[in-house]
């Protein structure tokens, strides 16, 4: 309680960092599910896609709070520019820089996704693959820049997030392999008629 009274902004900065770890893991896992066209139990694909989008927008909003509180608190020497320009921070330039890099990438991901119809699929996808770099950057930033970075509970949370992500990637790989096997098994036996012709 004393700590909160002493520096509520700093506490908020740490808390949003932890929530962002979980949220960004969810965003990436839902993105992996979207790219595989997976349905989660009974949740239709479009809903998985919307969840992915909304969670990402929520993460961006939280990121504004996270950065804003760190800068405003002044407990550590991180200027407003250092939050956007990597490796210019006075405090822990490398660790904070990785976070700034993750922020820049997330911004690029969100902006290009909002403009996907104008950009075209290829350009959008090329940028969107950067999501796989954003997550590790954010996680490593949390390990080094955070004051809780190496505490057992946060390391445990890191491990749980990594496990969730690996599970999502595993399910996607398995789903794609199963679809390919099914396509291989059914293709030769089906006549080459237009889709939907009577079977």
């Amino acid at each position: 309680m004393d700590l909160i009274a002493a520096s509520p902004l700093w506490v908020l900065a740490r808390a949003t960092g932890v929530v962002l770890l979980v949220l960004l893991t969810l965003v990436l896992s839902l993105g992996v599910a979207t790219s595989a066209g997976l349905r989660l139990a009974r949740v239709p694909r479009f809903a998985v896609q919307l969840l992915h989008r909304d969670a990402a927008l929520l993460a961006l909003a939280l990121l504004v709070v996270h950065v804003g509180t760190v800068v405003a608190d002044g407990y550590v020497d991180v200027g407003p520019l250092a939050a956007l320009v990597p490796f210019t921070s006075g405090y822990a330039p490398v660790w904070v820089g990785l976070g700034a890099l993750a922020l820049d990438l997330l911004l690029a991901l969100v902006v290009t996704s909002l403009l996907r119809a104008r950009l075209g699929q290829r350009a959008w996808r090329a940028v969107h693959l950067l999501a796989y770099a954003t997550w590790p950057l954010a996680v490593v930033h949390g390990l080094g820049a955070g004051t809780d970075g190496t505490s057992p509970w946060l390391l445990g949370l890191d491990a749980a997030c990594a496990a969730l992500l690996l599970a999502a990637l595993g399910v996607r790989t398995a789903t794609r392999a199963a679809r390919r096997a099914e396509a291989d098994a059914t293709a030769p036996r089906r006549p080459l008629t237009p889709a939907g012709a009577p079977r």
Binding site: G37, P44, R45, F46, R116, G120, A195, G196, P198
Partner: protein, 93 residues
Amino acid sequence: MSGRRPAADARLTVDWTACEGRGVCAELLPEVLTTDPWGYPLPAGPGPDGTPRPWPRRDGLPVAPASVADARRAVRMCPRLALRLEEDARRRA
């Protein structure tokens, strides 16, 4: 935005080289689209002889005014940007 007003004549077309049969469009437009066994979109409802209807060859699939808003959303959300809605409200005015 001219795209916001109800269209007198809206037609849905698919870029078949881009479509991967993810099936998001059929989820969002069940009254217009269904899917074939591989997930690719087909016009909803059986044809005259009870078999699935084929995709219209040239003009695209007509979309009723009540479904146009959903069709726009399906176009926006297509994971491959393979769906297009042509709205001809202006030409008729």
